[in-house]
Symmetry: C2
Subunit: 178 residues, 2 copies
């Protein structure tokens, strides 16, 4: 998270990484900044707010993002599915829904930031030493499809943007209706 602000609107190579991997990390970095901005200043109570008491809270969505990143680390860098123990930890965040809302609540923003930062630091480490051809490696995706590693990491930030959009909507709704 140390990129200078003047680099904010550049998708470009990242020092220490292969060219296409660098551009990918550059996009992931921009997305993370905007996620953190979308949640900036929220209290624990606000992080648990749900529109009409339904759907996901902002806190659950932030937690989900960290879990998605972690599961894709396992899938792409270790080339395996999560173990039962790992899934016990990550499943709640991955699946969201009512169960997540019961468990992931009453936390300060710093808790979610810590989860996200921890996952990202590991991602940056894991990408070191990979070359661009790794992005093109193809393996099964679900029951019926195949995906390359570029898609999988695109999907990690694509899912984050999707939920950042929802965080912005939930926050606006909360601020208008209290």
């Amino acid at each position: 998270m140390e990129t200078l602000d003047e680099k904010r609107y550049m998708v470009e190579e990242t020092a220490g990484y292969a060219p296409s991997i660098g551009r990918l990390l550059s996009m992931m970095h921009y997305v993370r900044i905007t996620t953190l901005e979308a949640a900036q200043g929220l209290t624990s109570e606000e992080l648990d707010y749900r529109i009409g008491g339904q759907g996901n809270s902002i806190g659950c969505l932030l937690y989900h993002m960290a879990c998605v990143e972690e599961v894709y680390q396992i899938v792409t860098f270790e080339d395996r599915n999560p173990t039962e123990t790992e899934f016990e930890k990550l499943g709640v965040g991955l699946e969201l829904g009512e169960k997540a809302h019961q468990i992931i609540c009453n936390r300060d923003l710093s808790f979610y930031i810590e989860q996200l930062s921890h996952a990202r630091a590991r991602t940056m480490e894991l990408f070191t030493g990979k070359d661009d051809s790794w992005l093109d490696e193809v393996s099964p995706f679900g029951q019926d499809h195949e995906a390359n590693n570029y898609f999988r990491w695109f999907h990690v930030f694509e899912d984050e943007i999707n939920h950042r959009g929802q965080i912005r909507l939930i926050r606006r709704h909360m601020e208008k209706n209290r």
Copy 2:
């Protein structure tokens, strides 16, 4: 929109385009498929629905996506800001809000699909013949920043994903509350 479904989870080069441009278009294409899926089957009335009568309708968000794409065509390929006449046409969609909701309503899904397809066909045409170094070209972005063309087109699909996330949330809310 003719990519075969088995290519859905691949971010890869696109025939007829430079390598990095091809990957970018591949991501844009995936995002567009998921946007259309998120709105699939909605009636005119459903496209105008707003949560608690507030915020953006799904229709307005779809229209916004087409306008964003069109304005970035002007900015990046013609290297200029939109003219007053262009802004008269695009402004409502770009700015969203209450005004957009008054004007962009009572339309069938086919209207929005047509706007999106029209914009995308032009984008695909404009990218033909550009080489990857064009993505690195830097020019002013707003009052105080600079951006490269890669960022600008990343931003086009990034904004679309953001709003697709909101479309999914609005749709789920609508389906639960009627």
